[in-house]
């Protein structure tokens, strides 16, 4: 096993530990249980780490389509979760890391299936374009 792998494993462990501690300290968070709708949407907004840049892409993605501009954060979340087989109304026990992993698999599958969109000159998978749109809508509605 390489040192870099050890480092990544340690980092992932610490991240999970910190996540669990943070969840325990946040009021309304069901430690060990499934997240509620709000928490699940919150998790989705954390999947992409560079949310300002992601929001920029999200804005570009929906800018040409009034129907997409009308979608709420919750609707974007629902569409995203459907792509990975998660029901927003019946959330399973899931965390951000698991969501990220499932969405990552879906992104690669999108590229394999050519389920992709052009956004401002970039070719993005449909899933990641929707993630960007969710981040944009979330930031936009929160401000």
């Amino acid at each position: 096993m390489s040192n870099s792998h050890v480092e990544v494993t340690r980092r992932a462990f610490i991240r999970t530990l910190l996540g669990a501690l943070a969840a325990a300290l946040v009021p309304g968070c069901n430690v060990g249980g499934p997240p509620d709708r709000e928490q699940l949407i919150g998790y989705l907004t954390k999947v992409l780490r560079h949310d300002e840049a992601a929001a920029g892409l999200g804005q570009a993605y929906i800018s040409a389509d009034p129907a997409m501009q009308a979608l709420s954060t919750e609707q974007w979340a629902m569409m995203l979760l459907q792509r990975i087989g998660v029901d927003l109304n019946k959330p399973p026990a899931i965390d951000v890391e698991t969501l990220r992993r499932k969405l990552g698999q879906q992104v690669r599958q999108d590229f394999a299936d050519e389920t992709a969109v052009f956004v401002d000159g970039w070719l993005l998978s449909l899933t990641e374009a929707r993630l960007c749109a969710l981040v944009y809508r979330y930031r936009n509605s929160a401000s």
Partner: protein, 498 residues
């Protein structure tokens, strides 16, 4: 031996068995093949050993096609021809390039890749290349220890390219030709026209002129015109004393189907989602098996048939980010990468993809003679109209989309293309590949081509052509290896005639 044609007597007649017009890649390669034979060969070269402004001016002409195309700048008119500035990228055409494809009108060679298979390896050392192993990527990855990309072979493949030094034919083969007693290389000798018998069935002699010297004629038994992708057509069109529309032009095909590779540099920028991916096999040249090689991305045959596309290749070039916001880093964690984020890196966070696309043969894309402009010898200059159709644009878009999809699928990066912003017009960096092809196309019928499968001009019993003007389609590969393979095959044919 070399002859300075300026020292000949006016109206002197030079007799020979074989006259090759043009001392570029094809002409020099053919002349070498006759060294030590019982053939008396004359090789006519317009220029001398060095670039000369007035000689080069004979190539000037008018461009009435796409504005990106300089008529006289990308070919050279002195001993060695355009090999004096070629890049040296080498690969044979693919087998599918020779086929008649139902999705590509006017495609189809009268010969196959198999017919050229004996000649490509013979051409290899002429270009100072290593072992002939273009279809053996594993050999190169094994020798270099470098990985190839885990591509979906239904879409895109890694293809081997060889890198010539690049061989300057005029320098490398000068002494050899100079020592050959049966090869006379006439420098400063500009072929003006072919004179035929009364039925235009046999070339009897060639009018030749020097800029600062006499006019004379060459009287050969056999002629090979190897003056380049534009000039071959021009000389046939100028030979209109008996054949009123030009030699070999009974069906009006000489000069038509002019093609060049479509270049977008870059066509795509890939912004990495992870750092450290080893792409050296692609963006660097490696010493392997006595030569130099690198790899490109190219269309697979399955994909071309499925999508009914023109052939293409992609060069990976380290050039740093060319766009404002490298988005790859946004998606790093989605791609399972947790190292230093590419967003915070500079030069190493992206790679440029230079695309070379095969054009569709188009009879309206053509070279012709100017009605008004004349050169130093009062010969009509060229007019070039390089045209592309919506088919090339949609193929370019799709090719780049497929590559971008692959980089996403492999979890390596995200692709940005100007062409993705607006697919209704070419990006501003559209270029021609400087590979002039198709103007005297090879075919199995005079109704659809200018030369037959043996490179002989239809209807003229002793006139042959060599060079990329013969290519009915051009694939994605640089033309020089195929020019040489055809020239060597023609050499064998001419030797067999006697």
């Amino acid at each position: 031996m070399f002859v300075d044609s300026r020292e000949l007597s006016p109206r002197q007649v030079v007799e020979c068995d074989l006259c090759i017009v043009g001392a570029g890649a094809a002409g020099i390669a053919m002349a070498r093949e006759f060294i030590g034979t019982n053939k008396d060969v004359v090789l006519l070269e317009s220029g001398g050993f060095e670039y000369d402004e007035r000689t080069q001016s004979l190539y000037t002409g008018k461009n009435t096609g796409l504005p990106t195309f300089p008529v006289h700048l990308n070919r050279l008119r002195y001993f060695g021809g355009t090999t004096n500035h070629w890049a040296g990228h080498c690969r044979p055409l693919d087998a599918i390039d020779f086929e008649k494809k139902d999705w590509m009108p006017h495609s189809g060679w009268p010969i196959t890749r198999e017919d050229l298979e004996p000649y490509y390896p013979r051409a290899q050392p002429i270009m100072e290349l290593g072992e002939y192993r273009y279809e053996d990527l594993g050999f190169f990855t094994g020798k270099t220890g470098l990985p190839d990309l885990p591509l979906d072979r239904e879409r895109i493949k890694s293809a081997v390219y060889n890198q010539s030094p690049p061989t300057r034919f005029g320098t490398v083969y000068r002494d050899q030709l100079g020592r050959a007693p049966n090869i006379r290389v006439h420098l400063h000798a500009n072929a003006l026209r072919f004179n035929t018998d009364a039925s235009a069935a046999t070339v009897q002699d060639i009018d030749v002129a020097c800029i600062d010297g006499p006019r004379f004629s060459v009287r050969p038994r056999t002629v090979v015109l190897a003056a380049g992708g534009m000039e071959n057509a021009r000389l046939l069109l100028l030979s209109d004393q008996v054949a009123r529309h030009g030699l070999g032009n009974d069906n009006g095909l000489v000069g038509r189907y002019f093609m060049d590779h479509v270049l977008l540099r870059p066509g795509l920028d890939v912004s990495f989602t992870r750092l450290g991916t080893d792409l050296r096999l692609y963006h660097s040249v490696h010493d392997v098996a006595g030569g130099k090689m690198f790899a490109v991305l190219a269309a697979t045959e399955q994909m071309l048939r499925r999508e009914k596309m023109a052939n293409f290749r992609i060069h990976l070039v380290l050039s740093g980010p060319r766009y404002r916001d490298p988005v790859g880093g946004i998606f790093s964690e989605l791609d399972g990468y947790e190292g230093e984020n590419p967003l915070v890196k500079g030069r190493d966070n992206s790679i440029a993809m230079h695309m070379v696309l095969e054009p569709f043969p188009n009879p309206e894309s053509r070279v012709s003679l100017s009605a008004t402009e004349r050169d130093l010898f009062d010969q009509r200059k060229l007019e070039v109209k390089w045209l592309l159709t919506p088919a090339e644009l949609s193929n370019a878009h799709r090719a780049l989309e497929l590559v971008a999809l692959e980089f996403g699928r492999m979890g390596l990066g995200r692709g940005y293309g100007e062409i993705f912003r607006d697919d209704s017009k070419w990006p501003g960096n559209l270029e021609a590949g400087k590979h002039h092809c198709g103007t005297t196309r090879m075919s199995d019928s005079a109704k659809t081509g200018v030369v037959d499968a043996n490179c002989r001009v239809f209807g003229v019993d002793n006139l042959y052509l060599a060079g990329s003007s013969l290519f009915p389609t051009i694939g994605y590969a640089n033309p020089t290896p195929t020019i040489l393979a055809l020239a060597l095959r023609l050499t064998d044919h001419i030797k067999g005639l006697s």
